[in-house]
Symmetry: C2
Subunit: 159 residues, 2 copies
């Protein structure tokens, strides 16, 4: 962070650049790789997958690879505390199902996607491509990605 005292023109330019950066941020610039599982795997295997991939949200897809559900760490914790036999519970029983899933497109504005995360009180959105018969999952947008975007505003403009 360089001192800006007396350098009015420089400050002005940087300021407008921060606004431009924020307005131009797209989901695709900050999204992560999605981790998907099949509807028929067990809750036990889903939890293992979550730890192996070190993510907080799994997306569930059908045999056509279209989105059918979402599993959060919270969903899995809720199920694991009440049930002793996690090997015999398929994830489709406990997942949040379409059409109750909030999602976004890679061309959506990051501000719009961040608003969706806050309004729906969720940790991640699937980034999808809409096909006539379903949604293909191509990314994952989380509050970690938004935190990185927030920091990139400061980094890029030397605050």
């Amino acid at each position: 962070a360089r001192p800006r005292v007396g350098y009015f023109y420089s400050g002005k330019k940087t300021g407008q650049a921060v606004i431009d950066s924020m307005m131009n941020m797209k989901v695709k610039d900050f999204q992560s790789i999605p981790v998907v599982v099949s509807e028929n795997i067990s809750v036990y295997d889903a939890i293992c997958q979550m730890f192996l991939e070190d993510v907080g949200t799994l997306f569930v897809v059908d045999k056509n690879a279209y989105l059918t559900g979402v599993l959060s760490r919270k969903d899995l914790l809720r199920t694991s505390i009440g049930n002793q036999d996690l090997h015999n519970i398929p994830v489709h029983i406990i997942m949040t199902r379409m059409p109750n899933i909030a999602f976004c497109l890679k061309t959506d504005g990051l501000i719009q996607a961040a608003n969706k995360l806050i309004e729906r009180q969720i940790d991640a959105l699937p980034v999808v491509i809409e096909h006539p018969d379903g949604y293909e999952v191509i990314g994952r947008l989380t509050k970690t990605n938004i935190t990185r975007a927030f920091l990139s505003l400061a980094d890029n403009h030397d605050l």
Copy 2:
């Protein structure tokens, strides 16, 4: 979002204001209320507390109410899948312990705290007051708080 074409002065002013906002953001302006538990409660009770309070991180305190540990949803999920008797495991066995806990002060800059969340790969920081013999927990700073801060930049400046 009002059109800014041809209104150069207005745009310039807003731009500098966004920079000022980001640099002046403090932890205390965005922190949440902390949820604390005692070292001797069971993992089972900690999970219940997490759902009751609807948080992703619990802070563990000793009998003087000083910070001794942190419990994430991930810690609790890891323990709950491998163990059948969660009532008999005290949280102090599985928690992350001082001095391995990243924390922040309420007067810290939000950019600095957000950097800590990303570097340490954690979801929440305890906001503490330093006393000669320990750290008193007075708040909780999460990636949700950072996401709200990111959105407040857009809201306050009518992007």
